[in-house]
C-alpha cells in the first residue's frame, strides 16, 4: 500500500522541465507529493548522504556533473533502496531500455509527462522496487539458510566418515591376532571425498577360526553410509557364530532385501580362516576376487560369483574352500584398486593388480604400505571410489606367549613343529625362527634375541631339526635375500655350511670325523649319526646361528652348539694332512673368513666375512 503522502527527489538541471514536473506533481490530489528539487547529481547525493529519505527519485540522466547511464549507477549507490524513474529525451529510446536493465524501475519521456502518466510511473516504480527488495530479502534469507544447511550437512558427513573409520578393526586388536591366532593382518582404508559404501572387518569365531568380511554398498553419501552401518551391525550381532559363510550370507540377504530401498545392494565377501585346520572357507556375492598367495609366491584368484546382498529374496550362496597353510596370504581389496585409471585411460584391471601385489608379497604377508604407495604412483588421482586393501597372512600355529618372545621388538617365529615354515621365520616380517623344544624356549640363547634386535637374523633349532631342514642352505638363501649388498656370498655360504655341520655332528651328536677315514669307517660314521639323531638327549640339543650385518659389507656369523667343545687354537694350528678325508672344515672357514675366533671352550664360533 502506498502512503497518502510521497516524498519525491527530482534531479533535473533544466529549470523549465523541472518546473513543469513540479507543477504536474503538485496538481495530483492523491497521493499528495512533496517534491525536493536538485539541479545536480552531487546535490542530490548530498541530500541522501545527509539522511534525507525519499519515496522515489525522478532522475534526468544528463546533468552538469554526470552524463548518461552512470548517473543512474551513482544515485543507486547512494541509496540502493530508492525507487528511481529515469527521464529521457525522445531522441534516444535505447537509453531508456538500458536504464531499466541496469536497475531503474521505470522511465518518463520528456514532453510526455501528464499527471496520469507521471503518477502511474511513480506508483509502478515504488511497488516494483518494493517487490524487488522483498525478493532480494527472501533470496538472502534462503542463501543464508542454505549455507547453514550445507555446513550442517558437511559436519554430519564428517561425523559419518569418522564413525565409519571407528567401525574398522583397531590396530591393537589386529596386533593381538599374531599371538592369539597366528595371523598377521594389515590394511589400508581411505574413503573417497564423499562418504562411501565400503567396509571390511573381522570377528573372532570359536576356536582358532577368524571371520573376515568386506562389502561395498551401491552408491555414495549418507544413504550408502547408513547401509554400511546396518550391515556392520547385523554382522557384529552374528560375530562369533559365523562358521558357515554361505548360511550367514543367506540370512543377511533375507534381512537386507526387506530393509534396503529398491536398487540398493552390496557386493560381499565373507571368509572364515581356520588356522588350526589351515583352511579358508568363503562365500561371496559379486565382490572383487581376492588373491590367495602360497608361501612360495604362487597365486590364484578366488571365485566370488554370487548375487549381491539385497537384490533378490531367492538368492542362493555356496561355500568354497581352499587350503590356507602356514605362509599363505589372502589379499582383499575394493574395486577402486582394479577400476582406477592408469596413464592412457585404461583401468588397472585384475591381472595388473595381481602382478603389482605379488611384488610386495613375502611368505606370510603383503607389504600394504609399499603396495599402496606403488598403487598411488600408478593410477590417476583423486580416486572416485573408496579404497580398501587388506592382507591376511597365516604365520604359524599359534603358541602360548613366551616371555622370551614378548621382550623382543623384532618378531620371531616360534613353533614346536612344522619345520617347513623355518623359511617363513627367516623372511620379513620375522627376524628369525625358534623351535620350541623339550624345555620350551627357556634354553634359547639370549644372543639370538639380541641379534634380532640389532637387525640381524637368528635361528635356534634342535640338532634333529637343523638336520631335517638343511638349516645351512635355508639360512644362506635368507641371508642373501635379506641383507643384500656387495658381500662375499660364496664365503658366507661356505662358512655357514662348515660351521653348522660341525655344530650338528661334533657339537650336537658327538660323532668324530676320524671315522670317515675308511669306507668301513664311513659306514660306522653314518650309523653313529643315525644313532645320535634317534637319541633324544643328543637330538634335542640346540644348534643356534646368528647373522648380524656389520658396517660396510661385512657380516658376522656366530654358530653355537651345546657339545663338549674343542681346542680351537690347537685345531687351527694343525696343518691339514694332504689327502685327508676329514679336518678341512675349520681350514676352509679360516681361508674364506676375514676373521674367525672361538669362545666358550670351542662351543661358539664367531666369523666375520
Amino acid at each position: 500500500m502506498l502512503s497518502a503522502r510521497l516524498r519525491v527527489l527530482l534531479v533535473e538541471d533544466d529549470l523549465v522541465t523541472a518546473r513543469i514536473m513540479m507543477r504536474t506533481l503538485l496538481r495530483v490530489p492523491s497521493p499528495s507529493f512533496e517534491v525536493m528539487h536538485e539541479g545536480s547529481l552531487a546535490e542530490a547525493v548530498g541530500q541522501l548522504d545527509r539522511g534525507e529519505r525519499f519515496d522515489v527519485a525522478i532522475l534526468d540522466l544528463n546533468l552538469p556533473d554526470s552524463l548518461g547511464i552512470q548517473t543512474l549507477a551513482k544515485l543507486q549507490a547512494a541509496d540502493p533502496d530508492l525507487p528511481i524513474v529515469v527521464m529521457t529525451g525522445d531522441s534516444d529510446p535505447a537509453i531508456a531500455e538500458l536504464a531499466l536493465e541496469v536497475g531503474a524501475q521505470d522511465y518518463l519521456v520528456k514532453g510526455e509527462t501528464g499527471e496520469n502518466t507521471v503518477t502511474r510511473a511513480i506508483r509502478y516504480a515504488i511497488s516494483r522496487k518494493h517487490a524487488d527488495l522483498e525478493r532480494k530479502a527472501i533470496s538472502d534469507r534462503l542463501t543464508a539458510s542454505l549455507a547453514a544447511e550445507n555446513k550442517r550437512l558437511d559436519e554430519e558427513n564428517a561425523l559419518a566418515r569418522a564413525m565409519q573409520f571407528d567401525l574398522l578393526p583397531t590396530r591393537d586388536r589386529l596386533g593381538q591376532y599374531r599371538q592369539s591366532r597366528g595371523l598377521a593382518v594389515d590394511y589400508f582404508f581411505e574413503p573417497s571425498s564423499e562418504i562411501g559404501g565400503d567396509l571390511w572387518g573381522c570377528a573372532e569365531a570359536d576356536g582358532l577360526r577368524t571371520v573376515f568380511f568386506m562389502f561395498d554398498f551401491s552408491g555414495h553419501g549418507v544413504g550408502a553410509a547408513l547401509n554400511v552401518f546396518r550391515l556392520h551391525a547385523l554382522l557384529s550381532q552374528l560375530g562369533r557364530q559365523i562358521i558357515d559363510p554361505a548360511a550367514t550370507l543367506h540370512r543377511l540377504n533375507e534381512t537386507l532385501v526387506g530393509m534396503l530401498p529398491r536398487g540398493q545392494y552390496a557386493t560381499v565377501f565373507l571368509g572364515v580362516v581356520d588356522t588350526a585346520a589351515a583352511t579358508l572357507t568363503w562365500s561371496a556375492g559379486g565382490a572383487p576376487a581376492p588373491i590367495l598367495f602360497t608361501a612360495a609366491g604362487g597365486h590364484k584368484t578366488l571365485d566370488t560369483k554370487g548375487k549381491p546382498l539385497g537384490i533378490s529374496a531367492t538368492a542362493r550362496y555356496t561355500n568354497r574352500v581352499a587350503a590356507f597353510p602356514e605362509g599363505s596370504c589372502l589379499f582383499l581389496y575394493s574395486d577402486a584398486m582394479t577400476e582406477s585409471r592408469v596413464a592412457g585411460g585404461t583401468m588397472l584391471g585384475e591381472e595388473r593388480l595381481a602382478s603389482m601385489v605379488k611384488r610386495f608379497h613375502a611368505p606370510g604377508g603383503i607389504d600394504i604400505e609399499g603396495l599402496i604407495a606403488r598403487f598411488y604412483d600408478t593410477v590417476k588421482r583423486p580416486l572416485d571410489d573408496d579404497l580398501t586393501a587388506v592382507s591376511i597372512g597365516h604365520l604359524a600355529t599359534p603358541v602360548a606367549a613366551q616371555p622370551v618372545h614378548s621382550q623382543s621388538s623384532a618378531p620371531l617365529l616360534l613353533t614346536s613343529r612344522r619345520l617347513e615354515v623355518v623359511d617363513v621365520g627367516l623372511a620379513p616380517p620375522y627376524s628369525g625362527f625358534i623351535e620350541i623344544g623339550a624345555q620350551g624356549v627357556s634354553d634359547v640363547n639370549p644372543a639370538c634375541l639380541e641379534a634380532a634386535e640389532q637387525g640381524g637374523l637368528c635361528l635356534s633349532l634342535s640338532v634333529a631339526g637343523a638336520w631335517a631342514c638343511c638349516a645351512a642352505t635355508l639360512l644362506n638363501n635368507a641371508v642373501s635375500r635379506r641383507f643384500g649388498g656387495n658381500r662375499d656370498w660364496v664365503a658366507v655360504e661356505h662358512c655357514l655350511s662348515e660351521a653348522i655341520t660341525n655344530a650338528m655332528i661334533h657339537g650336537g651328536l658327538g660323532v668324530k670325523s676320524a671315522l670317515r677315514d675308511t669306507p668301513e669307517g664311513l659306514t660306522e660314521y653314518t650309523r653313529a649319526i643315525q644313532e645320535g639323531l634317534s637319541d633324544p638327549a643328543r637330538a634335542t640339543k640346540r644348534v643356534e646361528v646368528t647373522v648380524v650385518p656389520l658396517p660396510g659389507d661385512d657380516v658376522q656369523i656366530t654358530v653355537y652348539d651345546r657339545g663338549e667343545g674343542f681346542d680351537f687354537a690347537a685345531t687351527l694350528k694343525r696343518e691339514t694332512v694332504p689327502g685327508a678325508k676329514h679336518g678341512r672344515g675349520l681350514a676352509v672357514i679360516r681361508k674364506v673368513a676375514k676373521s674367525v675366533d672361538s669362545r666358550d671352550g670351542g662351543r661358539t664360533l664367531v666369523m666375520t666375512i
Binding site: 638343511c470 662348515e498 670317515r516 660314521y525 653314518t526 678325508k581 676329514h582 678341512r584 672344515g585 681350514a587
Partner: protein
C-alpha cells in the same frame, strides 16, 4: 643326492645331482661299491648338477680316491661355489679338475 653312471671301455663317469654334503654319506656308499667293481679304469665325477659341496662332501671324494687306489679322479664341470671349495682346499693337487 642322485647318482647316474655312464660306463664304457675307457672308464666310468658318475653324474651327481644335489648337494654333496654332510647328509650325503650314506648314499655315497653305493658309489664306492660301484667304483670297487670298476677298479683300474678312469673315474670321472661330473659335478655339473651339484650346487653346493661342504668339507664332509669333499672328504667323500677323498675316500673314493683312496678306494680306487692310485689312479687319478677327474672332477668335471664344477660350479663356482664348488670351484672355490676345491681351490681353498688345494684339491687341484689331488684331482684333475676339468671345467
Amino acid at each position: 643326492m642322485n647318482f647316474q653312471y655312464d660306463e664304457d671301455a675307457s672308464g666310468i663317469t658318475v653324474r651327481m645331482t644335489g648337494d654333496l654334503n654332510f647328509a650325503a654319506n650314506s648314499e655315497f656308499r653305493q658309489v664306492l661299491a660301484r667304483l670297487q667293481a670298476a677298479k683300474g679304469r678312469h673315474v670321472t665325477f661330473d659335478l655339473g648338477g651339484v650346487p653346493h659341496i661342504d668339507s664332509v662332501g669333499l672328504g667323500l671324494l677323498y675316500i673314493a680316491k683312496e678306494e680306487i687306489s692310485g689312479s687319478r679322479i677327474r672332477l668335471k664341470s664344477p660350479q663356482a661355489s664348488i670351484m672355490k671349495m676345491l681351490e681353498l682346499t688345494e684339491a687341484e693337487a689331488d684331482f684333475d679338475i676339468v671345467r
